[in-house]
């Protein structure tokens, strides 16, 4: 009885060591290889987009500064649909008066 149990445990150990373990390792190796990684092109693209965003941001800031210097409440005029006055003549004159103040 003892011998049978010993053989069984030994067989189990061999199976785990020589089939289970490599299986586990290769499973994670394939997983790791298929995982998305950044290529050189991706890196370049990322850098370019980041730079572009930064430059556009700077330009946008300077334009907004110029607009604010010209007309401090331009933002309110642009956001308020009634004040845009594209459709409505009275609304547009109203907005023009408000700007004139």
């Amino acid at each position: 009885m003892e011998d049978v149990a010993g053989i069984f445990v030994g067989a189990l150990a061999i199976v785990v060591l020589f089939i289970g373990l490599p299986w586990l390792i290769f499973h994670y190796i394939t997983r790791w290889k298929t995982a998305a990684t950044l290529t050189t092109d991706d890196e370049k693209l990322m850098e370019e987009l980041y730079d572009l965003a930064r430059r556009l941001d700077d330009r946008m800031c300077s334009i907004e500064r110029i607009m604010t210097a010209e007309n401090p409440n331009w933002r309110a005029v642009a956001c308020d649909p009634a004040a845009t006055g594209i459709e409505d003549l009275t609304a547009s004159t109203h907005a023009a008066k408000r700007i004139g103040q």
Binding site: L38, T40, C79, T93
Partner: protein, 126 residues
């Protein structure tokens, strides 16, 4: 072969011994002192594996290429973010573009509406 930003390099300039700790700090964005203290603690508390790992890394890992050495702090931070999570960096850049789009739309609305207003005022003056 251009220098890659997402690889691990030894940072010999800021390093004390082989530049492994400084390289780890540069790669992850964690403070150098913290990395060094962590390494020493691991060595003292654990087995001597840290020393072997340190020497192996210091021997195998390449030095930091010249063109990567003179980058601005902002660039360093950006690439640390990319290494930590590329997806988050992409989302950040996208949100920046969206922000720019929104602000540009505001300016456009103002300019077009004020132009039409100006045209109407000229009409009225006639």
């Amino acid at each position: 072969m251009t220098a890659r930003h997402t690889k691990f390099y030894l940072d010999k300039q800021n390093g004390k011994f082989m530049g492994v700790c400084a390289g780890i700090a540069d790669y992850t964005g964690v403070d150098v002192t913290l990395v060094r203290v962590g390494t020493v603690l691991l060595t003292v508390l654990g087995s001597g594996m840290t020393i072997i790992a340190y020497l192996v890394v210091g021997w195998i890992a390449p030095k930091k290429p010249r063109e990567l050495r003179d980058e601005t702090p902002e660039q360093t931070k950006f690439w640390q973010g990319v290494r930590a999570s590329p997806a988050r960096t992409v989302r950040d850049v996208r949100s920046r573009f969206r922000d720019i789009d929104r602000r540009l739309a505001e300016v456009e609305t103002y300019v077009t509406s004020s132009n039409s207003r100006l045209a109407r005022e000229i009409e009225q003056l006639r």
